[in-house]
């Protein structure tokens, strides 16, 4: 029995078919595993390591390097606020403070009900439309705090 769901197992096989070696499939498989599990537990990482035929410790090393791989469960909604220069010039610091106050959590934390995580992130590659917030996978760009509030309140 694979660790992946049937559908994801097919995706995994498709990934393997595209690369010249198994280890190169580490990042795509970690992304896939995280999309299925919500985060990367030690167990999940071990499973992916086995599929890529490398040592679990090597896969841990890889997974821990990248900020998009979560090693602990995250809120259902991740509010990721870019704090790098262009966004900062566009008022990003206020956005972080606002959500910290509103959700009563510090950046890096998750609300008790598990609904929201607030994260400060670095440049998201969309600096012309700051402040840039990434809500899970979606970019929300150039919105005022009031507009952002409405989006969050509707969730």
């Amino acid at each position: 029995m694979s660790f992946f769901t049937e559908e994801n197992q097919k995706r995994a096989e498709n990934i393997f078919s595209q690369y010249p070696d198994k280890r190169s499939c580490a990042l795509p498989l970690l992304h896939l595993a995280q999309s299925q599990e919500g985060y990367l537990s030690n167990e999940t990482i071990e499973k992916v390591a086995e599929m890529c035929e490398i040592e679990p410790s090597e896969m841990m090393d890889t997974a821990s390097f990248y900020t998009m791989f979560f090693r602990k469960p995250m809120g259902k909604y991740r509010i990721q606020v870019c704090q790098t220069l262009s966004c900062s010039l566009a008022g990003a610091d206020k956005v972080v403070d606002h959500f910290a106050k509103k959700l009563k959590i510090q950046p890096g934390e998750t609300t008790k009900d598990g609904k929201f995580s607030l994260l400060k992130v670095e440049c998201l590659g969309s600096c012309g439309t700051g402040p840039v917030v990434q809500l899970n996978d979606d970019y929300i760009e150039g919105k005022t705090i009031e507009e952002l509030d409405r989006t969050i309140d509707d969730l």
Binding site: L27, Y66, M68, T84, S86, L89, G125, G128
Partner: protein
């Protein structure tokens, strides 16, 4: 004004294969595969003087010519779509609006280096753009533009979209290669250069998205046409990402050598300073390029030589504009914090130095700065990046140019806005 990368981006369905084919798309890839030799392709690229658009400005044709011909290893091609340099948001436009033009260019480059498998390394956050690329690849496969025996030739060529996972350093080409290999994104010691030992120890070429996208128009119109679009040593058009305190930030395609003043103030571009507050300073080529004061940008044109003469670099063409109300100490802290967060940690000067920089800069932003801290900041930048003559492209004390990328901007900020730093000392 001639545009060759973004002329269609306002049009509906511009990202589709149908649209691209209707506008002459893939004619040049087809010609390269069916009619041209590797030498002919490299010669045109060299004559066009196309320089890499990712930051370093290395001539593309010359890079391809370093790939060894007579060895029995596969060769790999990688499009760098990591778009990590703060201030840069140009490649996202090409990826989402004009993905086929990049593929078109990748096929031309593949023929030049005899490559049959390529990657697009796209930053992990660009999930939507990655999906657009995958759909575009599927479309191209259906039409025999990618896959086996493309255009009915005996040349196989596939492209795989590989998502990063949040690490600025993976934009550096050897870190990027490590990352595709499933490892931490830590730059390799060079030499060997990727052209000799890159992905899986095989010869590899890494070029930026915009570099590839520039190829089809060059091959269609000829190398001289491209040279004539720009100015000396800076051929062609270039995408500039402009952000900060301007009325209309955005991505603009203009010929090399366009005055920066036009880009900031003309209505067809940024339309002037936001709220009409006067300009104080500009970062001309991404966060790693030294900042320029209002006086220094007077008459500045956007090309490699002019910006270098002004003491900075064209880099990725990312212009960050700041008005008079901007607190330069805060800007310095913000950038140092970015670099401290993104250091891959391999080299002691970079890892420790960036941590020290933010510790000391924090004293300037939050209180407790001493006069000697100013000297200390400059000392630390020397220790990380050294005093490097970047016209020579020589790099000093660290494995990768990240060391310089943090040192230069911090040093320039402290030196050019010294009174603002001194004021924080006196306040205490």
């Amino acid at each position: 004004m001639t545009k060759m990368l973004t002329q269609f981006i306002e049009q509906e369905n511009c990202h589709t294969l149908d649209f691209y084919l209707k506008n002459g798309g893939y004619n040049q890839a087809k010609r390269a595969i069916l009619e041209m030799s590797a030498d002919e392709i490299i010669e045109i690229a060299k004559q066009s003087n196309l320089r890499g658009r990712g930051g370093a400005g290395f001539p593309a044709g010359m890079k391809w010519s370093f790939i060894p011909r007579d060895i029995d290893k596969p060769k790999y091609l990688i499009s760098n779509a990591d778009e990590g340099e703060p201030g840069t948001f140009k490649d996202r436009v090409l990826l989402s609006k004009n993905p086929h033009q990049m593929f078109d260019g990748m096929i031309i480059a593949a023929k030049a280096i005899d490559c049959h498998l390529a990657f697009v390394y796209i930053r992990g956050e660009f999930k939507k753009e990655a999906e657009i690329l995958e759909n575009a690849i599927a479309e191209a496969k259906e039409k025999n533009i990618l896959g086996k025996r493309i255009f009915g030739s005996d040349f196989d060529f596939d492209i795989v979209v590989h998502r990063g996972a949040g690490a600025y350093i993976c934009g550096e080409e050897t870190a990027l290669i490590e990352s595709i290999e499933g490892k931490r994104g830590q730059p390799r010691i060079k030499p060997p250069f990727p052209a000799i030992e890159g992905y899986l120890q095989c010869p590899t070429v890494v070029n930026n998205v915009e570099t590839f996208a520039a190829l089809p128009p060059i091959f269609e119109n000829g190398a001289q046409w491209f040279v004539d679009l720009g100015v000396e040593n800076s051929a062609g058009t270039k995408l500039f990402s402009i952000s900060g305190h301007v009325k209309n930030p955005g991505v603009f395609e203009v010929p090399m050598g366009t005055p920066l003043h036009d880009l900031i103030y003309n209505d067809e571009f940024c339309g002037g300073m936001k709220d009409d507050i006067p300009l104080k300073s500009v970062i001309p080529g991404g966060s790693s390029s030294p900042i320029l004061t209002a006086k220094e940008i007077d008459g500045l044109t956007m090309d490699y030589d002019a910006i270098q003469k002004a003491g900075s670099m064209l880099g990725s063409g990312a212009v960050i504009v700041m008005n008079e109300t901007t607190d330069m100490v805060q800007v310095c802290y913000n950038l140092a914090r970015f670099y401290a967060h993104e250091s891959c940690g391999q080299c002691t000067p970079c890892r420790e130095g960036t941590a020290w920089l933010i510790k000391i800069l924090k004293r300037f932003t939050s209180g407790g700065a001493r006069q000697e801290d100013i000297e200390l900041l400059l000392d630390i930048t020397d220790n990380i990046g050294g005093l490097v003559d970047f016209s020579q492209g020589s790099f000093g004390k660290t494995i990768c140019p990240f060391g310089e990328a943090v040192s230069w901007p911090v040093r320039a900020l402290v030196e050019k806005f010294l009174p603002e730093f001194e004021k924080r000392v006196q306040e205490k």
